[in-house]
Symmetry: C2
Subunit: 405 residues, 2 copies
C-alpha cells in the first residue's frame, strides 16, 4: 500500500501570514470606521515598467505567427537572456561568471527550495535565525532536519546562527561544521547587509571546511552603500564554494510574472570531485521545462537602457518609503535597522513587548499592520518587520500615526 512522505507531516503549520490577515480582518470588522494601513506587504505594488510591458506585447505578437512562434525553450534558458544577465550582472562588474553557468528559472523561490535536492540526503544545513522559511522547510521535506521542538521552535539537526542587535544582525561561524550554509543579503526579514570583507570571511571559511554557501541575493538591487557586495562572486574563491540565487521579483516587479536565475560555477565540486553544475543541469532538464518565452523576453528588457532607468526609479520610490519609515521610527525613539540597502525595516519592540503583543498594540492604536519578527524564527522574537512596498502617502500616514503614539 502506498504511503505519504512522512517528512511532510513533521512540518508545523505556516500560520504567520494567515494569522496576520485574520487579526486584521477581525479588527476591521469590529472597527469598520478605521482605515488600516498595511506595512506588512512583502509583495511589490508598482506596475511593470513601460519597457517591460512593450517587450511583453511584442513577444506575444511573436507567438501569434508560425515563423516567430516559440515552443519548448532551451532547458537552461534562452541564450539572449543568459548573455544579457552575465554581461550586466557579472562581467560589467568585473566578476568572472560565464553565460553557461546561468540557469534561468521561474523564480528564486523555486530555486531556493529545489537546490537542496542536488546534495546528499545526510547533509547538515546552517541557517540564519530569523530566516526566510523556505530554506528550512524544503530541507524538512527532504528529511534532513531531525525533529521539531515546539517549545523552542528549533529543529534538532539544523545549525542555527542567531542574527541579533548584539551582533549587528550578522551571523557568526557556527560551532558545529555545516555542509550547506544558507546566507541571504540584503536580508529578509532584517534588512541587514554584511560588508565585502565580512562576506570574504564566509567564503574563506566555506572553502576551508569544504562547505557550500547558497547565497540568496534576491534584494541586491536595493543596495545603496558602496561596501556592500551585490554578488558573492565579488569575493575571491567563491567560484569553488558558492551558488548564487537571483530574482526579477523585487528589482523589476516580477512577483506575478515569475523569473529568476541560479548561478552554479563549473569550479564548484564536492568532496569526491563531482561538479554540481552537471547535477543542476540534469535537474533542470528532467524536472523543469523552462520559463515562458514571453517572460524571458521581458527579462531581457529589464536590462535595456529604458528598462534599467525605469526599474531604478521604482526601487528609488520604495527606498524613499524605507527612509520615511526608518527616519520616522528613529525620531520616535525606536531601535531600528535595515531600510538602507533593503526594502525591509526591522525594529526592536518597545517595553519588552513580544512580537505579537506589539502587533496587537500597533493594530489597535495606530491601525497599522506589520509582521511579527517571531514568525521568522525564535531569534526574531522581540522584533518587528515593516516593509517599503506600500504607497508613499500611506507610508507617511502610517509613520505619523506611530510617532503620535
Amino acid at each position: 500500500m502506498f504511503k505519504a512522505n512522512e517528512n511532510y507531516l513533521k512540518l508545523p503549520g505556516s500560520y504567520l501570514f494567515s494569522t496576520v490577515a485574520k487579526k486584521q480582518r477581525e479588527y476591521s470588522a469590529a472597527h469598520p470606521d478605521k482605515k488600516i494601513i498595511r506595512l506588512s506587504i512583502g509583495d511589490v505594488t508598482q506596475p511593470l515598467a513601460p519597457a517591460i510591458i512593450e517587450r511583453l506585447h511584442s513577444a506575444v505578437d511573436e507567438m501569434a505567427v508560425a515563423e516567430t512562434f516559440k515552443g519548448y525553450a532551451p532547458d537552461l534558458g534562452y541564450e539572449f537572456l543568459r548573455n544579457t544577465i552575465v554581461k550586466n550582472d557579472y562581467i560589467d562588474h568585473g566578476v568572472d561568471i560565464s553565460a553557461d553557468e546561468i540557469f534561468v528559472s521561474d523564480g528564486a523561490k523555486s530555486d531556493s527550495a529545489n537546490i537542496q535536492e542536488i546534495f546528499a540526503p545526510e547533509s547538515k544545513i546552517a541557517v540564519c535565525d530569523p530566516v526566510y522559511p523556505v530554506y528550512v522547510d524544503s530541507n524538512v521535506m527532504a528529511g534532513r532536519t531531525g525533529t521539531y521542538d515546539k517549545e523552542t521552535g528549533l529543529w534538532s539537526d539544523v545549525i542555527y546562527m542567531p542574527c541579533l542587535e548584539e551582533n549587528g544582525f550578522a551571523p557568526e561561524f557556527p560551532k558545529e561544521e555545516p555542509d550547506i550554509i544558507y546566507l541571504c543579503f540584503p536580508n529578509n526579514p532584517t534588512g541587514a547587509t554584511i560588508s565585502k570583507a565580512q562576506l570574504q570571511e564566509w567564503v574563506d571559511y566555506a572553502n576551508k571546511i569544504g562547505a557550500v554557501i547558497i547565497y540568496d541575493a534576491a534584494y541586491e538591487a536595493y543596495i545603496s552603500e558602496d561596501d556592500v557586495p551585490h554578488s558573492i562572486y565579488e569575493c575571491e574563491g567563491a567560484r569553488t564554494c558558492a551558488i548564487e540565487l537571483r530574482s526579477f521579483s523585487k528589482n523589476a516587479g516580477f512577483t506575478g510574472t515569475r523569473l529568476g536565475f541560479t548561478v552554479v560555477p563549473k569550479d564548484l565540486k564536492d568532496a569526491n570531485g563531482v561538479a554540481l553544475h552537471g547535477l543542476w543541469a540534469r535537474r533542470h532538464g528532467t524536472k523543469f521545462n523552462g520559463a515562458p518565452y514571453i517572460v524571458q523576453a521581458a527579462g531581457e528588457a529589464v536590462y535595456s537602457e529604458e528598462g534599467k532607468a525605469q526599474t531604478k526609479a521604482q526601487i528609488a520610490y520604495y527606498m524613499n518609503n524605507a527612509k520615511v519609515i526608518y527616519d520616522g521610527l528613529k525620531a520616535a525613539g525606536y531601535s531600528v535597522s535595515g531600510g538602507v540597502n533593503a526594502p525591509y525595516i526591522w525594529l526592536k519592540t518597545p517595553d519588552k513587548m513580544t512580537s505579537w503583543e506589539f502587533f496587537d498594540y500597533l493594530l489597535a492604536n495606530a491601525n497599522v499592520v506589520g509582521t511579527p519578527g517571531s514568525g521568522f524564527g525564535p531569534s526574531g522574537e522581540g522584533y518587528f518587520r515593516l516593509t517599503a512596498f506600500g504607497t508613499y502617502e500611506n507610508t507617511v500616514e502610517a509613520i505619523e500615526r506611530i510617532k503620535a503614539l
Copy 2:
C-alpha cells in the same frame, strides 16, 4: 565536507534526442543538396490561437497599471482559472471534481517529475515500457529505483509493464504489487489508448491493492473515439486511488508558454489515512510561487468559445497529418498503431531492423527523421515513432518518399 546527491550520478546519459540531432546534422553536412523532413518533432509548430493572443495582450495591459497589476498569485492558481477548468474538463462531463482539487502549475513535466516527492522514499513504482523518461528519472533522483543494468536498460527496483504489439500496447497488471503506478493515455510514445472498461480495471486493481495511479492525460484533447476516457475520474472509485496530470502544451500550443494542472482528490488517502491533497498543497506553497498571471489568464481563454473552436482546429490539423502518416504507412505495408487518438504514430520496423538501423535507413533513403523506439525503453526496440506536429505539406512529402522506398 559537502557531498552531491549520489542518486543523480546513477542516471545514464539522455542521449536519445541529441544523437538524433547529431546524426541528422552529419547527414546534412555530407549531403547538403538533400531536403530533410523531421517527423521526430515532439513540439507543436502552430502559433498560439487568436483568442489566446488577445487575452495575453489584455493581461499584459493589466500588468501596466497599478489598479490591475498582479503580484504573487494564489499558491494553487487563480480561482477564475480553477473554476473554468473544473467546469469544462470535469463538471460538464459529469465528473465529480471540485475547483479546490485543481492545482495550477507551470506544466505537466514539472508536475510529473515532482509528484513522487509526496510519497514515502521506499515506494515501489511501476511504469509502462516504453515510457516518457521523466517518470523513471525523477524516481532515480529520489533514490527509489535501485541499480541500473546497462545491458538490459532496466532498473533493479522498478516494475516494468511491457507494452507491445502482442498486448495491443496496453500494460498488464504486474506480478509484483507496486505502490505507485504511472499510466499515460493517450500514450507517449506509442499513441495507444485503453478503453474506459480497461481503465476501470486499473482503478479497481489500484483500490484493491492500495496503490496510487499517476494518470498522465496530457494528450486527452487528441481523443477522437467515443469509448476512450478523457479523464481517469470517469471511472468509479478513481477519487480514492488516482492523481491526474493535465497540460496546456499539446491542446493549446503552450509548450513555450508553460501551463498545466494536477488533480488531487480530497478522498485520496494513504495506508495511514493521510490525505495527499494537503501534502501537494504544502509542496506548492513551499516550493513554487504560481504560474504567471498573464499565462493563467491565457489559460482561461483556451476555454472561451473562440478559444475552443480555434484550438480544436489546430488539433484537427495535426490529426489530419496523423491520418496521412497512418494511412500511408499502412498502404506501404507497415505494421502501424497510434495516430487515431494521439499525435504519435508507432510503427514496427521492417525486416527485423533495430530501431536505430531503421533510423539510419530512413534518413539515408527517404531523408526523413523519426525517433527510435528503443530510446523510450527496452520494449521500444524494433519500433519507431513519427509525429504529426510538422506541416501538412512536409508530412505528405515524407510519406510519399517512404512509400516509394
